[in-house]
């Protein structure tokens, strides 16, 4: 206590004549540095256990296993941080780096600051229940179990956490870790749940705020247990003085506790609005790089803006490799780095509290990684530093949502729902309309009517054709994705400047060329379909496949054209490949050229024509992106290049590698090559037009649809 007030170390008050073994001397200038790391551990917390009811309880013990706390203590002891003959305060005092924080039973007054009387009384009753009653409660409760010692252990665990936080606040220790069970973060104010009886961290927070009103006004609770701490979030949902930040698996709401209360859009309410931050991972398999990224982009900036007086870490270790519930890969190194970052807050006042984590080896090594950094060791260098795409997307959703509440999250974003919607027009439609005007002016292209059940403005002028293309002998069919817009949003406001934004549409160049050659031209634009949360839209690939079939059946097949050449760009290629496989095309289609770039390759399906695969491999060219060996270990992992890397089968056509990353660039680069190829195909065809009947005979119908 004295340490915090007059800056000198008074041994008696902080119970640590072991604190760095210093004689209290003015030559100890930094009392904080002189302090040890607190450890709360009590063997008696192992009494709480599942009532053994069947053979399987022996062979397949409950994951919240009494050995959890011991295995962590043992790991600390084996690392030399605490004595192996451990767990007695006397022994710990001998440790040079850590200091025992004795556990004691929490009082009713403390617990009921957070929990209801009924809740308290219910847990109390479990102490005197018969095994049958206990088993019933276990059966009908929300994944909790009880024995007659649960009541005692729950109080001991909770009281231990309270005193751990007090020791940190009073600077009896510089920071601390409470290795306790049962855990707490699922326990609601009203009921136990998820292996949790009392919400240790929530109770401790309330006690601290009540007992140190001057010193501790704001608390940050950081919860990196792989499960959402629904109980803790609930306890402070309306409280502006407690910032709850949780990183957890969400899996679209399916992961325990399985409600949308864990989603990123739950930000607190009332006075507590903006004081809840959820980072909901979409799946298992999250790694160091994902967590470090979330810390650098969201956790630390928000924490620094909030500027807490105390940090309590709800530290489950079920995101560690080997945890069968979490299925993630957060290494001891990453746990160390995150702990190191949190140490920079609140003048180092950090209390770590064990929550979940069920692989006994994993929680031991993870807890050791955290504790070493608490004591003052440097974190182990990270080996995995790359955030995965869906982690980046998740973090981005969080930033977007939190930008309403935190200035640091507002940087580079336009924060609002679509404003002034009444006067809003989809940019895709604006641009397509513009293009049709341009193509009409430059190539007198006109719109071809497309009748579909689902009419959206996105289909207006989706297909443009050259005048009288029905009677053209040679037709170039260009099927492309919506053109790309290159822009750089303002790094502060996130707005884009129309003057510094550019429309990139390589396809136009080909349309103009084909017209100049006097070929008939069909220009098919494949919009990616816009779907908001509510409405479930047409799958884009299905849409372009339907469209290509529709155009073939209603226009191309009936036209006078002897020769078709297909030119497809990006995802739209799926439509062409589908068409070539589902209709009899070999007689009239001479070649199919695809600018795939980083987009996925598509295998042709021989539905109508068994020879189509060979034909396609012989008469196609697919330009696909192959990453050059890039510095900084960078390089794309797109399905396209992966497929290419595997060495695609004939079904994928004649695949040609290119290192041009950008579609538009690719189309410009290959312009001469591709146009020459097309002219050549067409010429060659004229010469051998006599073999035409021959080809026709070769065809066989293998199906109908």
């Amino acid at each position: 206590m004295a340490a915090s007030t007059n800056g000198t170390l008074t041994v008696t008050t902080n119970g640590g004549n072991g604190a760095l073994q210093l004689k209290p001397t003015p030559s100890n200038p930094l009392p904080f540095v002189a302090l040890k790391t607190g450890l709360c551990y009590d063997v008696r917390m192992r009494y709480h256990a599942k009532v053994v009811n069947s053979q399987s309880d022996y062979t397949d013990p409950h994951p919240e296993d009494p050995r959890r706390v011991y295995r962590i203590y043992k790991a600390l002891a084996e690392a030399g941080l605490v004595p192996l003959n451990g767990a007695s305060g006397a022994a710990l005092i001998e440790s040079t780096l850590m200091q025992l924080v004795p556990a004691r039973e929490a009082t009713k007054e403390e617990v009921t600051l957070t929990h209801s009387n009924e809740h308290w009384e219910f847990i109390k009753r479990t102490a005197t229940m018969s095994n049958e009653e206990l088993l019933d409660e276990t059966k009908y409760g929300d994944s909790v179990y009880f024995n007659n010692d649960s009541w005692f252990c729950a109080k001991l665990s909770c009281g231990g956490v309270i005193d751990t936080c007090k020791a940190v606040v009073e600077q009896k220790v510089k920071n601390a870790i409470a290795v306790v069970r049962p855990p707490g973060h699922h326990a609601d104010p009203g009921k136990p749940a998820g292996f949790c009886m009392f919400n240790n961290v929530a109770v401790a927070s309330r006690v601290i705020l009540k007992e140190y009103p001057e010193q501790i006004k704001k608390i940050l609770i950081l919860d990196w247990d792989i499960h959402h701490g629904n109980g803790t979030q609930r306890a402070f949902y309306n409280d502006p003085n407690v910032l709850y930040i949780s990183l957890h698996r969400y899996d679209g709401g399916k992961f325990y506790p399985g409600t949308t209360f864990a989603n990123y859009d739950k930000c607190g309410e009332g006075a507590g609005e903006g004081r809840t931050v959820n980072i909901p991972w979409p799946r298992g398999g999250m790694q160091d790089g994902d967590y470090i990224y979330a810390f650098q982009r969201v956790v630390m900036p928000i924490a620094q803006e909030f500027n807490p007086d105390l940090v309590i870490l709800s530290s489950g270790f079920d995101a560690a490799p080997g945890d069968e519930l979490g299925e993630c890969f957060v290494s001891p190194a990453a746990y160390g780095h995150m702990t190191h970052m949190l140490k920079s807050l609140a003048s180092g006042k950090l209390a770590v509290v064990l929550e979940g984590g069920y692989n006994l080896d994993s929680i031991a090594t993870s807890a050791l990684g955290v504790t070493k950094v608490l004591v003052g060791d440097a974190p182990i260098p990270l080996t995995n530093v790359y955030a995965q795409n869906d982690a980046v997307q998740t973090v981005d959703s969080v930033i977007k949502c939190q930008a309403k509440y935190w200035k640091c999250m507002k940087i580079g974003r336009m924060v609002r729902d679509l404003p002034g919607a009444p006067a809003a027009e989809r940019l895709h439609d604006v641009i397509r309309r513009y293009q049709s005007v341009q193509l009409f002016t430059s190539c007198s292209m006109t719109s071809l009517p497309i009748f579909r059940d689902r009419v959206s403005r996105s289909f207006d002028e989706q297909v443009l054709c050259s005048p009288g293309f029905q009677s053209a002998k040679k037709v170039v069919v260009i099927v492309h994705d919506a053109p790309q817009v290159w822009t750089e949003p303002d790094s502060v406001t996130g707005k884009i400047s129309l003057h510094e934004s550019f429309l990139l549409d390589g396809a136009v160049k080909y349309v103009q060329w084909a017209r100049a050659q006097g070929y008939g031209v069909l220009d098919i634009n494949a919009p990616e379909l816009y779907t908001d949360q509510d409405e479930d839209g047409l799958n884009p690939q299905a849409a372009i496949q339907d469209l290509c079939i529709y155009v073939w059946d209603n226009y191309l097949e009936l036209s006078d054209a002897k020769i078709f050449v297909f030119l497809s760009v990006g995802d739209a290629a799926a439509g062409v490949v589908y068409l070539l496989g589902h209709r009899e095309v070999r007689g009239r289609v001479r070649t199919s050229i695809t600018f795939a770039g980083k987009h996925a390759l598509h295998a042709i399906m021989p539905i109508m024509d068994e020879f189509i695969i060979d034909w396609y491999h012989k008469n196609s060219r697919i330009y696909t992106y192959e990453a050059p060996v890039a510095p900084g270990g960078s390089g794309p992992g797109s399905s396209g290049s992966v497929a290419a890397a595997k060495g695609p089968k004939k079904r994928f056509g004649n695949v040609v590698k290119t290192t041009t990353e950008n579609m538009n660039e690719l189309m410009i680069d290959k312009f001469t090559e591709v146009t020459a190829l097309i002219e050549n195909e067409i010429a060659e065809d004229e010469s051998e037009s006599d073999v035409e009947p021959e080809r026709k005979r070769a065809r066989t119908v293998t199906g109908e649809n």
Copy 2:
């Protein structure tokens, strides 16, 4: 030494029976924690001083002042980190937290790993030069001074830094700070410069890489001196194994050393390409929030991806408040937080080396802030956490540039120069063309010819008019900025989806309304002008002012209209206010309504008509944004709302506050109100059209232009 090898603490080798006052015992599990922080300091470094040549040398001493190192030592001593009777190794041994690293003279072999022989020989000669020669060298050198002790001090400073780094690498100390002078980071391999003789950090890095080839393969040099470390950057510009990151004032290349070598686009070359990262601040006045932001967004992600084996910090303290050269405001707290972040790299192997910093008090408190964190104290909580806009923009340019080399910098960005430019069209032109088509279709609006010297496609169809508007009696003139596009770039690729991007153009609604009323309509679009670095474009405000005057002189004044109503949106309003002030308009203009939102307000200038100010105040309405009290301390600081808050004078017109942030939303919200107002103005006018002559008489010409 032994500490690094067998993990137990051998007192004798690391000279620290004081190391945490531990008896060497197996119960010391974390040798790193047991180590002290090294301090290299030697009073003899004060011998290097400017040859006193004039009275002013006394009254106005050179900033690189011998007292610099002493004042830092004194601050550490006063904080109790080292003995006050300081600087002797013997005394330091007594310290509980720090340990002396004795300085010694660097050898020629060491120095010439980085510097040329000539360089070495030249500095050597200064030891025997006459005062006249020394003063000449000072006069003609690149801001360096010499006396006969400079040679010795330069070697001592350099040797001290080498041994400081060695002590860290060999884990004789856990980390260290070298309080040395002369500094080094401006010294080129070929010549001394900027108060620097030998490049201490560069020389030490080369020595370490040479002598510990197995242990130290990659070094990160982080340079936060306010000046760019041109010498260090030069020394490793081609070296892939040394990553040089510098945060410094750039001021468009004007700040010392005053070359573009310090700009963000200088990223190294050859094998070293991508191993130089410059963060060039545009001005003085940078603060904690800017540095922390740069660390979180660029420095730490890149450093973690690089994963160095040793971190050397070129630590000038001239970004601290009170430094007259730096003029920035980086607090001891921020220095502590940045040090804390760097401690997480390279297993804590961090060597801090003094560079510049010339306010004796500032460098002392800053160095203390750094040293406390090195020793193990928690950094002081940050009070300033907000990055300034131009800091964000600077960091963004760095990210954009570094994205070519670092995967972590690639996230959320389209990395390339404008691709496939041949087929690129400015989005502004695309959209304006679309609008003219739409307005032609819906309101048969057509383009009005505008002749200007500087013709850009951006001016095509800039002014649209209703058919026969010249003969319309009532004309609504709508002057607006280019419409806004709302979009959200993909958080991974930075691409924007045209389907999820929206064109927001509230102006169209007013055009359609005015046409429906049978009014003549003029629709003037004010493009923000696109200007790239090279070409200096027309100032947008001047452009719209010219245009409004042009339209008035060539069309409006000559038209038959008795009544004009002006409706202006955003920055374009500047043109209308300018016009109203520079032409005689009261006779025919009834009202001027402006949607200003967050845009700046404009005061009218009574050039032609002294009564125009009262008239404008009476006959205008300017909707301006006023920030509601926002949570999270956020809220806009736009000039618009500021001007409004000040309570604008009559010259600004009749200003009405609104809390609608978005322009487009604002125009939709106020549609009924504004259209009613306009109709009312026009109606009222018809009733009192007899007073028309009266008004005319009231006018007086007060000027010409």
